[in-house]
Structure formats: C-alpha cells, structure tokens
Amino acid sequence: MEEYFDSTYIWESIPALLPYLKMTFFVAGLSVLFGSLLGLILAIMKLGENKVFQNIAHGYTTVLRCTPSIVLLFLIYYGVPAIAMNFGVNLNDMSSVFFVVITFTLQFGALMSEVIRSAYESIDRGQYEAAVSVGLSNMQAYRRIIFPQAFVVALPNFGNALLELMKEGALAYTIGLIDVMGKANLIIASNYNSHALEIYIGLSIIYWVLSIIIEQFFLKLERVFSKGNKGLKAA
C-alpha cells in the first residue's frame, strides 16, 4: 500500500472501465426515451388551456428542479417499493436499474418539458396560420411546419439535457448500479482503497471524452438541420 501517485493505474483503469459504459448508456437511453415522453406530456399540459393541468405541470417542474438527484434517487429507491407494498406488489427484489431509470425519467421529463415548451413557443404563431391558410390540415401543419422548426430550436437544449443526465447518472452507484462509476468504486475497493485518485482520474477522462463527443455530435446535427434556416436570414 504505497501512498504515492502512480500514473500507470490511470491507463490500466480506463480499459477496465470501458465495458461498463454499456450499462451507463442503457440506463441513460431508457431514461431519455421515457423522459422525453413524459416531457412531451408535461409540455402539452403547460401549453394547453386547462389551468389545473398548467399548474400541475409547472409545479412538477419546479419541485423537480429543486430536488438534488441523490435525494430523488433515494426517495424512489425506498419509497416506490413501500408504496407498491401497500398494493400488494413486492418490488424489493427489483434490480437497481429499475429505480435508476424511474428517477432519471422523472428528472429528464422535467428538463424536457421546458425544452419542448420553449422550442414550441419560439415558433411564430403566423407559421401555423400560414400553413392552415394554404390548406394544410391541423395535423399536417404541425408535422410539416411547426415540428421541423421547433426541433432545430430544441436540439442544443436537448443535447445539454442529455449531458446533464449522463453526469447525474453517475450517482446511480449509490444504490448499487454497476455502471462506469460503480465499477470504478469496485476496483478501488478491491485495491483496499489505495490508488483511488488514479482510478477516479481515469474515470473522469472517460466522462470528459464522452461529453466532448456528445457535444460535437449535437453541434454537427444542429448544423445539418439548420440548413433550411439560411434562406430566411438572407431575405
């Protein structure tokens, strides 16, 4: 158990951790999928006419924004099985993936509802009216005119939300999920807690590279999809 810093541990830890990115991606992917759906529903509630639905959706977003992920994670982890127990469902043996996905779905939904709402509101009302006036149906106007434009506006924010989700996802190790972070902790524990620093540096490199890749990917996407905008600016 030497106390000094040994950089070879950094390079050894990275290949050992990489396979566990699969779990990180799996959890993030499911949360994005369900979270976007939830976000869409919340955004529709916010944009709708019904005052009660509006307040529920806004309240939900505020509450979720004020809750640290770690607290939400534990609330779900301990709370959901207890609630399910009252209905006679035993969830105590569920894998931690289940609870992690629920937590980050709830959180990502709150983020996405704001992303979708602001993207929708950024599209001028006149676009819809113009579309309807040339004879498009309601559905067609949304699908062909509003959605493609709102999509471009939402893209950078969606990318940010995704990055945020991936970083917060690191906390899933606290309830025993073995993703990259969980594996790093396992490696450290099997080293009797020595060289923790090197392993964490290796882990941070993985996260860093990953977020740079995601960032660049979204910049590229944005460039591809905003091509149609150029004509408008010239006019």
Binding site: E3, C66, T67, N86, K167, A170
Partner: protein, 238 residues
C-alpha cells in the same frame, strides 16, 4: 415497513436535518463569493482571447462541465490530502492531514465547479452588451476600469442574473453530495438519523422538503433582485 409513515420520526428528523442547513448555506455563499469575481475575470480572458489564460479557461470549463460533480469531489478529496501530506513533510509541519475539516475540501470543489459554470454565464452575458457601449464610455472620458464598473458590469449582471440563479440552485443541490466527504450538511445529518432506525423514506422526505424550501427562497430572492436591477433598464424599443 409498510405500516405508513412514522410521523414522529419525520418531524424529529426534520429538525435534525435543519441543523445541516447553515453548513450548506455557508458553502454556497463562500463558493459564490470566490466564483463570481473569478468567473468574471476568466470570462474576460476568454472574450479578449488572452494567450494561455484563454486556452486554460477553455480546457478548465470543458473538463468541469464534462465530468460528474461526484467524480470531481472524489478527485479533490483524494488528491488534496496527498498534496498536503507532501507539503507538510517538506516543511516539517506537525499536523495530521486527516484532521483537516471536510468543509475545506467542499469549498475547493464547489468553488472550482461554480467558477466554471459562471465563466460560461458571464461570457455569454458580456457578449450581449454591445461593443459600442465601451467605446461610448471611452469617448466621454471614462477609463476602462470606470467603464466596466459603471457601464458594462451593471448591464452584464442584469442579463446574467437568471443564469446565476440557476447556478446557485444547482450549487445548493450539489452540496447534498458533500456527504461523500463526510461533510455534516443536510443530507448526511438526515442519513445518519435514519441509519439508527431504518426510517429512510421519512429522512429523505425531510431532505426533499428542506431543499424545496431553500431553493424556492433562493429563486424568490433572485426574482426580487432582478426586478431591482432592471429598474434602470429602459424598455427595449427598436
């Protein structure tokens, strides 16, 4: 476990967790006090494309924004004692590294983290103030320092305020991770209380409520502040 909530414990733990609030607030305030000026200065180096410093803040921001806070906490928590130990050894200071109060580590982590966020906030805010403002200030005889203090900074602050509010809320939320360095803040206090009796749901409900109250208060204060700062802004017409 399924016989409902233990309300007595819920209320008792609420007050236990409340005793962690001062620590969380202290860390938030000190981190902000360090990060606000530092973030502003580094944002200026980014905008003015200063050599070395510009590259440095770019890499710094990218790293901090690209890695989870919990990983940053573990890196600082594991590296600073190593550094300190070697320094103590070199200068023969008789002090145990493990006696250092975890608040110091927390301050380092959260100041560094918030600085990175604020660099980006200020960078985009300064960019919204047009260059003509500085030129106009110069032309009426203000020095650059005066121009910044009286013309640029007040305008930047108004634009940056909502994002500073976000950064503050995120910072308060992030202090909940202080439990990883055994920092006696809200989360840790409630967790310890819950460990004795396994009333985890009640404990986390308490933490949840406390954060909700603190964050709502912060958002309200920032709204008030924004209204006050906006007083001098003429409604943007054309």
């Amino acid at each position: 476990m399924s016989n409902g909530l233990d309300f007595e414990f819920l209320i008792d733990t609420f007050f236990v967790a409340l005793t962690g609030v001062p620590v969380a607030i202290l860390i938030t305030v000190v981190s902000l006090a360090i990060a606000l000026p530092l973030g502003f200065i580094l944002a200026l180096t980014r905008i003015n494309k200063m050599l070395v410093l510009n590259q440095f803040s770019r890499v710094y921001v990218s790293f901090v924004r690209g890695t989870p806070v919990i990983v940053q906490i573990f890196i600082i928590y594991n590296s600073v004692p190593l550094l300190l130990a070697s320094i103590f050894e070199k200068y023969n200071i008789q002090m145990d590294v493990y006696d250092v109060n975890p608040i110091w580590y927390a301050l380092i982590v959260f100041s560094l983290n918030t600085t990175a966020t604020l660099i980006e906030v200020f960078r985009s805010a300064i960019n919204t103030v047009s260059k003509g403002q500085l030129e106009a200030a110069h032309s009426v005889g203000l020095t650059t320092v005066q121009a910044f203090r009286r013309i640029i900074v007040p305008q930047t602050l108004v634009v940056a305020l909502p994002n500073i509010c976000n950064a503050t809320v995120n910072l308060i939320k992030a202090t909940s991770l202080g439990y990883a360095m055994s920092l006696p803040e809200i989360t840790l206090k409630a967790q310890v209380a819950a460990n004795a009796s396994y009333n985890y749901i009640e404990a986390y409900l308490d933490i949840f409520i406390i954060y909700l109250i603190i964050c709502s208060l912060v958002e309200y204060l920032f709204k008030r502040l924004e209204k006050r700062l906006r007083k001098y802004q003429i409604a943007p017409t054309a």
